[in-house]
Amino acid sequence: MSAIALQNVTKRFGDVHALRGIDMTVESGEVFGFLGPNGAGKSTTIDILLHYTHPSSGSVDVLGHDVTEAPVAVRERVGILPEGFAPFETMTGRQHLAYAIEAADADDEPGALLERVGLADAADRSAAAYSTGMTQRLALAMALVGSPDVLILDEPSTGLDPHGVRRMREIVRTERDRGTTVFFSSHILAQVEAVADRVAILRAGDLVAVDTIDGLRETADAGSELIVDLTGEPAAVAPAVASLDGVSTVDERDDTLVVGCTADAKLRVLDEIRAAGATIRDFSTGETSLEELFVSYTEGAT
């Protein structure tokens, strides 16, 4: 069974189309990264998953429950680290956990959860005095209450220092190993790359790509370029290069050959050029990194 399933979900705020028909399935037990620039609709999607926001059309199922019809059933089995929340100003960190444990009818130990997110030292201080990063840790601890089947984290690294980011990553891995599905959004590719099994890229309310990290990397590699300066006429070797495996394009520019190919084909291209009798004066490669791929996917978005 899929943990999260969105079917043709749209959301309009007045004239603004925040989501333009999202179809997406998150399988049970996977870590799913939700990437996109600011304002692409990531938080809107997450708000819809938790039924904070009503979708304009489409259906949203979490763990087999329609979120519009059974929001509480969803919230019982989902731990959420939302965006733009505030702690209760009259309560300490420990009291927050005690409340969440009671609400979830769980038997967790507040101290143990606070320890896990690195907030044990501040457990008995008023949460109103917490920094952004501490508030973030507090909400993560609350999300972990009752060992949820699904964790939804909206920009989890917001306000966290490098230690906090690493701890967050460790917690995500531990939870995944326990069998938890983790769905998290980020506008920073490196964070998604580090932990996600699969990634969706959102751009201006549209899904532009859903793939594994490896799949994305292959797409990026396929876009590699090899630029070879020759002493002779490039036209003489171009046909031989073009016939090689893994070569997609061959362009001749003055005495330079620009070859679009996969990463592992580069050496074969150089060998072929020499075998054809041309002399290589210099060569360089233009790598398309994942970062560039992400940028190219999301270019033009606001």
Binding site: Y52, P71, F85, E89, M91, A104
Partner: protein
């Protein structure tokens, strides 16, 4: 069904931030002072023991509605705009739990404060060796608790409906002006209009019922049998029904609006 948890948290919040103590102390002080005034009148022979309710009714006409409105007007909308609702609704809570729990929790604060006031007043009467008109006090407490419930319900309804605290403040202030003052002229105005914009010869039977649609006016009619012995019974029942009607309908309307909108 997690509304009890929210209600308990609301009450706990009021204890932790000392709002409950401040409100209860205010009530206690005012009622004690009025009880003292009553006791002096009794000592001089100007009043009987049952006149205590006349004194108690003075603050409750304004203090109870204002306390009810202030306690609840920002209860939901403030948590909505500052993000606490986002955190709460991430837990297994329904939006109904939020409205109902806030309503019950805040009402508990109001009732405790009202009781603190009345008991402080009664303590003054008792300590100075005077008689406590027990039945009248009970009737007064019941009516005042009903008045507080109606106004608190109105504020909960407003708080669940509007999106900013500014609007909540305006709406609550408008509701108080309308229901406490303006409504006193509405029945006569309607009777005037019904008589073809002329002074009606006799008051139509329904004017007092229209008047009692305001919780404040209904409360004044509920106090009639407490203060005097004879009262129009149907009017009393109607007034009690009005208070209950506000208590149910206002939060229900607010809730329906609240579930239909985005957080």
């Amino acid at each position: 069904m997690n509304w009890q948890l929210i209600a308990r948290k609301e009450l706990g919040d009021a204890i932790r931030n000392r709002q409950l103590y401040a409100l209860a102390a205010t009530f206690a002080l005012i009622f004690a002072v009025l009880a003292e005034l009553h006791v002096r009148q009794v000592d001089r022979g100007y009043a009987g023991s049952s006149n205590l309710i006349d004194y108690f009714a003075l603050p409750s006409v304004l203090l109870v509605p204002v306390a009810g409105l202030l306690l609840a007007s920002s209860a939901i909308v403030r948590r909505r705009s500052n993000g606490q609702l986002t955190l709460l609704l991430g837990l297994p809570h329904d939006r109904r739990d939020i409205v109902l729990g806030t309503y019950v929790g805040r009402y508990a604060i109001l009732v405790v404060s009202l009781l603190a006031g009345v008991f402080a007043g009664l303590a003054v009467v008792f300590v100075t060796g005077h008689t406590i008109p027990t039945t009248a006090v009970l009737g007064y407490l019941l009516a005042s608790a009903g008045l507080g419930l109606a106004y608190l319900a109105i504020a909960i309804g407003i708080s669940a409906t509007v999106r900013t605290q500014t609007w909540a403040t305006f709406a609550v202030f408008g509701a108080l002006l309308l229901l406490l003052f303006v409504w006193r002229f509405v029945p006569d105005g309607l009777a005037y209009a019904a008589a073809g914009f002329e002074e009606p010869v006799t008051q139509p039977w329904w004017t007092s019922y229209v008047g009692a649609l305001s919780p404040s006016l209904a409360y004044e009619r509920l106090l009639v049998p407490v203060l005097e012995s004879d009262a129009d019974r149907s009017m009393v029942w109607f007034s009690a029904a009005v208070l209950l009607g506000w208590a149910v309908l206002a939060p229900l309307i607010g809730y329906r609006r609240f579930v239909a909108t985005d957080l």
